[in-house]
Subunit: 129 residues, 2 copies
């Protein structure tokens, strides 16, 4: 079955893309793609998203150097979510953590605890290009 025919973009022409570290299966982040950014992702082998706040393409790692090399692109049964395996260079999170999901709910409370070390400060991350 054709990949693009299977996909369902939402009313804004977007589809959520879950990004997973191929090596250790850590979920790194979730961001949005439109058809053009997905085509660029496939063509270039690097993740390219659509920024809803800035209304522009956003090539992951373009500023920080922390790119994502695409290893596999899967879609779900309904065709409305993508799961992309990557080789992550450095930190996926703009706050300097490997994964954006660096906080979990502490058992039996409604408080968050940090579950992984910060790799580098955001200042270093974006001074680094």
């Amino acid at each position: 079955m054709s990949f693009f025919e299977t996909l369902k973009f939402d009313a804004n022409g977007l589809i959520p893309a879950i990004i997973q570290d191929q090596a250790n299966k850590r979920v790194l982040m979730m961001a949005w793609m439109n058809r053009a950014s997905l085509e660029r992702t496939i063509e270039t082998g690097r993740t390219c998203f659509w920024s809803r706040s800035r209304q522009q393409f956003w090539v992951k790692g373009e500023t920080s150097g922390h790119t994502q090399l695409v290893k596999d692109i899967a879609c779900d049964c309904d065709g409305d979510t993508l799961l992309i395996q990557v080789e992550q260079v450095g930190a996926a999170c703009h706050e300097g953590y490997r994964s954006c999901f660096f906080r979990s709910v502490e058992n039996g409370t409604h408080q968050l605890k940090t579950t992984e070390p910060r790799l580098l400060s955001p200042e270093v991350l974006y001074a680094k290009k």
Copy 2:
């Protein structure tokens, strides 16, 4: 920091929840929660989603018996996506696969290939209660 204060629900009061198999880190599915379904998930220890098409709560496995026992709830840096680790009973996908992401793009093509075995047919899945 308080979990619920950190979260950002979208204009429809929803937040995407990525569901991951705690045992082998396979991403199983992505679905939507509102605040009430998230509260029910925390209270009951079983995933409860909000069905956008049916506009009602949807306790995973209620019909099929293929429940998800919650082991960890994380949120991302922006507070607009959840990552929930679960113990999955049986198949997460309504098509009878373990994961909803059972198809990937075949290298160098725009075609999809199936990447995991079907555990059971949808007819068996929903006859099973």
